[in-house]
Subunit: 105 residues, 2 copies
Amino acid sequence: MSVNVENTVEIMAGFRALADPLRLQIIELLRSQELCVCELCKKLEVNQSKLSFHLKNLKEAGLVNSHQEGRWIYYRLNLVQFVALEHYLAEYRRFGDIPSARNCQ
Amino acid sequence: MSVNVENTVEIMAGFRALADPLRLQIIELLRSQELCVCELCKKLEVNQSKLSFHLKNLKEAGLVNSHQEGRWIYYRLNLVQFVALEHYLAEYRRFGDIPSARNCQ
DNA sequence: TTGATGTATCAAAAAATATTGATGGGTTAA
DNA sequence: TTAACCCATCAATATTTTTTGATACATCAA
């Protein structure tokens, strides 16, 4: 019933990574297909350095993985982490209605 | 199938609000019971101004509601918004495996 | 080899967020 | 009334995050 404190840091990192418009655009693109950085650059019309920064951010939060193929580095979603975040949120409604406050003082 | 762009701003605001340790502590406390600001202050050992800032943040993101009762203002979770965020994440796994990249160039 | 391409990283500047302390507005009890 | 309490807001500061441009390191093609 109580929230797992050890995981909370990772969960929060996930939410933090999702809290940015460009990063949200990135993961929405990756939703349908794995992509390399240069393709993301073109589709999102941002410079490579900026994109690299945000991809690192997403990767450190566990939301994406990458693998190299020749000189390209492909990024793809790590769905496991999405599920973890989803479950964290699901916990909040698991126990139904929340009691009103008993009077303060 | 595609992600609803209009909602994305609200969804992102939700994630942003969750991306902070104190705010996460707040909602974890509110999970079991509605609380007033002074009680949250005591439990979390932070000053009132700081707490007020973060509560405003959570409220603007739709994660909590508040109502006044005498001189106390009680905050409680807005579970509807938690469900909305949960559903947003659930969309990512709805369509199963993601194709590998076709070669870039 | 050499030069071009794809990507990460770094330092500096810019922008966004958070903290702090002070103040003020409601509400209640005396 | 007055004073105490609960809370929001504001301005100034501090901190964190993001952007930008430069550079460096692989890999590949010629």
